[in-house]
Amino acid sequence: MMITCTNLKKSFGDKQVLKDINLSVAKGSIVGLLGPSGAGKTTIIKILTGQLSYDSGSVRVFDKEASKLTGEDKKRFGIMMDRFGLYDRLTCVDNLKIFADIYGIKHIRIKETLDEVGLKDDYKKLAANLSKGMRARLQLARVFMHSPEIIFLDEPTAGLDPQSMRAIHRIILKKKQEGCTIFLTTHNMEEAHKLCDNIFLLNEGKIVEQGTPEDICRRYNVNKRIKLHLTNGRDLELSQESTDTAREVFELLNKGEISTIHSTEPTLETVFLELTGKALEEGA
């Protein structure tokens, strides 16, 4: 395991923000921490990366206590926090040069990295003149330029348009294929479903559910129903467990009255709603 958290607790003053967090991240996997704003996602990333201390429990990264990670260990991370943190007055290439020099990477790697994130032709553009999606890609380029073993991404696609989001997803999946372990936080359940091998649902500092996205959805698929959209514009929802359903559907099919037919498995969003009584994007 690359990361293991056992009974992790953290308080800010009187307020306990993390309550007995248990999670583990396998090498080469993408693990998502899903929860609304204020659930404790960023706090967990800060603890895992040694930016924040914790009150009790155990946090092990690279098989070492997170609080004892050295500077060399931290060079094995790539961290993208929710704010951009770019030098606006510098060009894309100059932004990356700073970090190439800090990590002792040859400058040839900068061009390769910019190419990987699709900013090859924009290398001379000032960071201030980039679109939000391009800024996110530049930040991602900085994160993986030094080939880290674990990449921490805090809401990597928050506020981005669908096209930029897809571009970021492609980059993340490519890094996974290259063997990188990725730990990301998001409140976008579609993103989690698409990218993550394993997810943890976090609410008010507590992990309320965990597993693969498919497993979680299957686990909560108690009201098995099918949804029909009829040619006359009407929607119909039928229970899969009723003996009449098959007959009813057959009749409608025969009459050619069915336009679309879907099974209605719960989504991560509905599971989260069922578990916590609130939507993932609430307050986000």
Partner: protein
């Protein structure tokens, strides 16, 4: 050492595109050259503008530049990104301070071209020294203390707006008090408490050896005060 050099290089690149900071470094050296060459009033003290603008330069440029740079990096989260890339806080602070001090010394070097290189000053202690060397030494001391004050404000402030609101009054006192004290005795008495006024007195003589015990104690007390403020700010806020 590598990280300190990276910070200095980054800051150099950034300054050329940052007019707010750039103007701090360029304005007083340029004004000095122009005024010393353009204005020639009979009976005016020699090197009047060099001495006047030098005091203002040391009280203004390092203070505002250091505070502004640190506060901007905090506000835009670039400082956090540097820390996460394993740049140590002390490496960052030394990098910024070295950069600001060096740029200011280059400015002082430009201003010192108004001083005749053959000018040798003999202090009351009968020590003869080159006026240019003395001038640069005095400026170097002033820049160190002013940079410390700027670092204290930059570390304490959460963002650029807070930094500006803290920097402006300090800058006005440090840089304008010595100028106003030329016209008003009461202001002069108050201004004596500040290192800029003490260094202005030394600049008037253009000899480092003219520093007496009182001057030295006040300058040292200012340095200790701003160091203490910096330590206090750093312990309370760190570089978060």
């Amino acid at each position: 050492m590598r990280n300190i050099i990276v910070i200095i290089k980054k800051q150099l690149q950034d300054t050329f595109k940052n007019k707010t900071i750039l103007i701090q470094f360029v304005m007083f050296p340029l004004l000095t050259i122009v005024m010393e060459n353009a204005v020639n009033i009979e009976g005016m003290e020699p090197l009047f503008f060099t001495k006047l603008f030098s005091t203002m330069f040391m009280g203004m440029a390092p203070l505002t530049a250091t505070a502004g740079i640190i506060a901007e990096e905090k506000e835009k989260d670039t400082l956090r990104v540097l820390m996460m890339a394993n740049v140590k806080p002390w490496q960052y602070l030394i990098g910024i301070a070295t950069y600001v001090w060096t740029i200011c010394m280059i400015g002082a070097g430009v201003m010192s071209t108004t001083i005749p290189s053959s000018l040798v000053k003999t202090s009351s202690a009968q020590i003869s020294e080159s006026a240019v060397a003395s001038y640069l030494s005095i400026m170097a001391i002033g820049f160190v203390i002013s940079t410390l004050a700027g670092a204290a404000i930059g570390v304490f402030a959460k963002n650029q707006m807070t930094a500006t609101s803290l920097t402006v009054p300090v800058m006005l006192i440090l840089s304008f008090a010595p100028m106003l004290s030329m016209f008003n005795d009461k202001i002069e008495k108050v201004a004596r408490a500040f290192f800029t006024q003490q260094l202005k007195i030394t600049l008037d003589e253009m000899a480092l050896a003219s520093v007496n015990a009182t001057n030295a104690v006040i300058i040292a007390a200012n340095a200790v005060l701003f160091t203490a403020l910096f330590v206090f700010a750093y312990q309370r806020k760190g570089l978060e």
